[in-house]
């Protein structure tokens, strides 16, 4: 049942130009960064004579692409998540889902999964693109896997937050702006506490938890942070929709 809701979401994502435009634009941007990364690698490494100065090609190019990707999803996810619930609210199509034999939790998880599946196309694409380096060099697949998992968890967290804001309003644009502001704050929270890295608030920052994945480390503490983050916002969304049914 969850999968049916997810399929419906994917279907409507691909039946409007929005999905295709975002996918193609992002892939174009990632491709450009990848190309630049490879070029820069030769430029930088030709100057680095001593072995201590050298980094692997996977890490060098990977950092460029994943660093850019984690920044660009900050804009892409709100644009995609904004319409998930708010548009249904505005077009009054929610009763279609509410009167079908599916629970609210299934609706919310289905919508969330639909968006995450869509975004994971991008992550798989980046992974494949970086793997092509293996034709010329011996690359570190572990690094790519860790980064992909990190990216996936991060876009999933973004989506959960976006879904929640989308459930609060009838206007997709309002949802997008709110999501963007919230994500922006969460991403850069640790910058504000740069002088005091042990501050509790700083450890709420999404960037901080992505960093270990970015350096190729899969840390269970970070995985749990993301999972809890997702669970929190999905629960809030279910509650928000339930309030509709109760209050009307």
């Amino acid at each position: 049942m969850i999968i049916n809701v997810a399929r419906k979401e994917l279907k409507s994502m691909f039946s409007s130009p929005m999905g295709w435009v975002i996918l193609s634009l992002l892939m174009f941007a990632f491709g450009t960064y990848y190309l630049n990364g490879v070029n820069d690698y030769f430029a930088v490494m030709s100057g680095a004579m001593r072995p201590a100065e050298r980094t692997g090609v996977t890490q060098f190019v990977g950092q460029t692409v994943y660093g850019f990707a984690s920044f660009i999803v900050l804009f892409a996810v709100p644009l995609l998540s904004m319409r998930l619930i708010s548009e249904e609210r505005r077009n009054q199509t929610l009763p279609f889902l509410f009167s079908a034999p599916i629970s609210l939790t299934e609706i919310v998880i289905g919508k969330f999964l639909g968006l995450v599946l869509f975004l994971s196309i991008l992550i798989v694409y980046i992974g494949l693109m970086l793997s092509t380096l293996n034709i010329w060099a011996d690359i570190d697949f572990g690094y790519i896997v860790a980064n992909s998992i990190g990216m996936l968890l991060m876009v999933a967290s973004f989506s959960a937050l976006g879904l929640y804001f989308s459930s609060m309003t009838q206007q997709p644009v309002v949802a997008a702006i709110l999501t963007f502001i919230a994500l922006f704050a969460l991403m850069f929270l640790d910058r504000f506490f740069a002088g005091d890295p042990s501050n509790t608030l700083a450890s709420l920052s999404l960037t901080r938890h992505f960093q270990s994945f970015a350096s190729g480390l899969i840390d269970t503490a970070d995985i749990i942070y993301f999972v809890l983050f997702i669970a929190t916002f999905l629960t809030l969304t279910v509650r928000r929709l339930d309030a509709d049914r109760l209050r009307g």
Binding site: M1, N4, K8, S16, A100, P101, I102, R245, G248
Partner: protein
């Protein structure tokens, strides 16, 4: 185990302390078409939302084929097809895509989806619209898609909120025929404020006003109330009321402007002939005699108006 497909038990819904629907109870059996009548804001849509589990009742309960909507919402919802007032259509999809999604969400098994979609399209006259985007369909066809969506999983109960609003007369006729057809093997609840429509398609009528049921019964009862035993007589030289009363079986006579007269006669009698004879004999200049039908509108107004007077 009774045979009720829908049981509403003392449904009450409060909106900020105001009762939008209060203490509505009724039952519906298989193969019945129930018409829900009421002025704007009477609580028709609210009641329907509660029946379909879109809105939680403040008090009372709903049972669909004996399954409680609050305790087992999924099982109960599986037995219902619902078309809300605002059609819940995803306009960016084609008719086929949309109906497939509807079938899938209503637990139609994978190998039955295609035949189910075909059958729903067939019944709603949509077969030639399969590949069209819903957005590009006319209002009437969109309404048909809405109805197709609600019957695709062959539910026990079909609930349609104002299904004929905004359609042209031919489409309205088609949709009424469709509702009758659905009503023969499912139970149907439909709301409307078009009274002749109720007379045409429903076997049962409920009139709701200010959240309260003011009438609940078979359509025949309403019809009887409507036809009554009255005659409307037009004359060029109208006599005095007493002269009319002297005719056997005439119980009551009332003078109206333009020489017309409304006459009530005793039950199971037919005084028309003797009235005509008397009129000819006395040269009243009779030019019209017809049964005086109170329109359904009048009955409706009476029913909803009585309620107001009682409240005052």
């Amino acid at each position: 185990m009774n045979n009720y497909t829908v049981e509403a038990i003392e449904l009450t819904r409060l909106y900020g302390g105001r009762e939008a629907v209060s203490n509505v109870s009724f039952t519906l059996s298989k193969g019945q078409v129930l018409g829900f009548l009421g002025p704007n804001g009477a609580g028709k849509s609210t009641t329907m939302k509660m029946l379909t589990g879109n809105l939680a009742p403040s008090q009372g309960s709903v049972k669909i084929c004996g399954i409680d909507m609050i305790e087992n919402p999924k099982e109960a919802k599986a037995l219902i097809g619902y078309l809300p007032e605002m059609r819940p259509l995803y306009k960016e999809l084609t008719v086929d895509e949309y109906l497939t999604i509807a079938a899938r969400l209503h637990r139609v098994s994978a190998k039955h989806i295609k035949p189910a979609v075909e059958e729903a399209k067939e019944r709603c006259g949509l077969s030639h619209m399969s590949k069209r985007l819903i957005e590009n369909l006319s209002n009437g066809y969109q309404q048909r898609v809405g109805i197709a969506q609600s019957i695709i999983h062959k539910p026990m109960v079909v609930i349609l909120d104002e299904p004929t609003v905004g359609l042209d007369p031919i489409q309205i006729r088609d949709i009424r025929a469709l509702i009758r057809e659905i009503g023969s093997d499912h139970s149907v609840i439909l709301s409307t404020h078009i009274l002749p429509e109720v007379e045409m398609v429903c076997d049962h009528v409920q009139i709701i006003d200010k959240g309260k049921l003011v009438f609940n019964g078979a359509i025949d009862v309403l019809k009887k109330q409507r036809i009554g035993n009255k005659l409307l007589i037009g004359m060029r030289n109208p006599p005095a009321v007493e002269a009319m009363l002297s005719i056997p079986d005439v119980v009551e006579a009332e003078s109206l402007p333009n020489g017309q007269m409304r006459v009530r006669f005793a039950e199971d009698s037919a005084p028309a002939e003797s009235i005509v004879q008397t009129a000819v004999k006395n040269g009243w200049g009779l030019y019209q005699i017809a049964p005086d039908q109170t329109s359904l509108e009048d009955v409706f107004v009476q029913l909803t108006y009585q309620e107001q007077e009682q409240a005052a």
